[in-house]
Amino acid sequence: MIFLKAFLVGGLLCVVAQLLMDLTSYKITPAHILVGFVAGGALLSALGLYQPLVNFAGAGATVPLTGFGHLLAQGAMEGVRQKGALGAFTGGVAATAAGITAAVVFGYLAALLFRPRG
């Protein structure tokens, strides 16, 4: 059941992005979509709206980049709970460190190992 929910929610989040690209100005590029989804995820998370979606759909809500924003916001808010204002500076990146470090390390290695094919 969780797989079906993950499929539906993950797929729908992508459809929203696709419609944003297809039905709006050419000025909305994939980079704008990614930025918008991360920031949007962080905002929804702060309003307490994203955690219920994660509870419902699991990876369907955490794999799309809104989930990355959610993780950043939850990390920063948890930081605040533990250390006060300083936590806003430490919590977000700490919570997302795995994804960021993996992207840097594997990205660097891939660039060394592979040649673009054009």
């Binding site: 993950g10 994939p30 808010m77 795995a98 994804g99 990205g107 660097y108």
Partner: protein, 156 residues
């Protein structure tokens, strides 16, 4: 019927021309694109769920399993980008391949590979962040701002 195109004032020419462009310009196949984005985005999420379940079954906490899942998906995306497969997937699936964290990884690996010819520091090192940079900037900034608001308004 021919109007005297050249005798029209410049602004009028521009307006008429842009109307013409809008008539001629092909529309994106919205339904097909949305369907492909739904299917592929959904499947990548299911793959994420499978990986997460695997880590949970090995005794990781939910938080750690999530981190391990993100790292694994990023690895798979880096590999398939290197093999020249990910751009083909995105050509078919559009946002279905862009929005998942695999798309974020692809947007780091692709420019890094591409600018490998310009050196390890200014080529690979700098270009890893062409798209990831803005994503991190806006993501980190938003999280910082909402956390501070939370701190000062709600005083946890």
């Amino acid at each position: 019927m021919t109007t005297h195109w050249d005798s029209l004032p410049g602004e009028m020419q521009k307006r008429l021309y842009q109307e013409l462009v809008n008539q001629v310009k092909p529309r994106p196949p919205v339904l097909r694109n949305a369907g492909a984005a739904f299917a592929v985005g959904g499947l990548i999420s299911v793959l994420g769920q499978l990986i997460q379940n695997f880590f949970l079954a090995r005794g990781l906490t939910l938080l750690d399993a999530g981190a391990a899942t993100a790292a694994t998906l990023v690895f798979l995306a880096a590999l398939s980008t290197g093999l020249g497969l990910y751009d083909e997937l995105a050509r078919f699936a559009g946002a279905g391949a862009i929005v998942p964290i695999t798309g974020f990884a692809n947007s780091m690996v692709a420019p890094a590979m591409e600018y490998r010819t310009e050196g390890l520091v200014l080529g690979v090192g700098a270009r890893l962040f062409t798209v990831a940079g803005p994503v991190l900037v806006f993501g980190i900034f938003t999280a910082w701002a909402v956390a501070l608001l939370y701190h000062f308004l709600l005083r946890p």
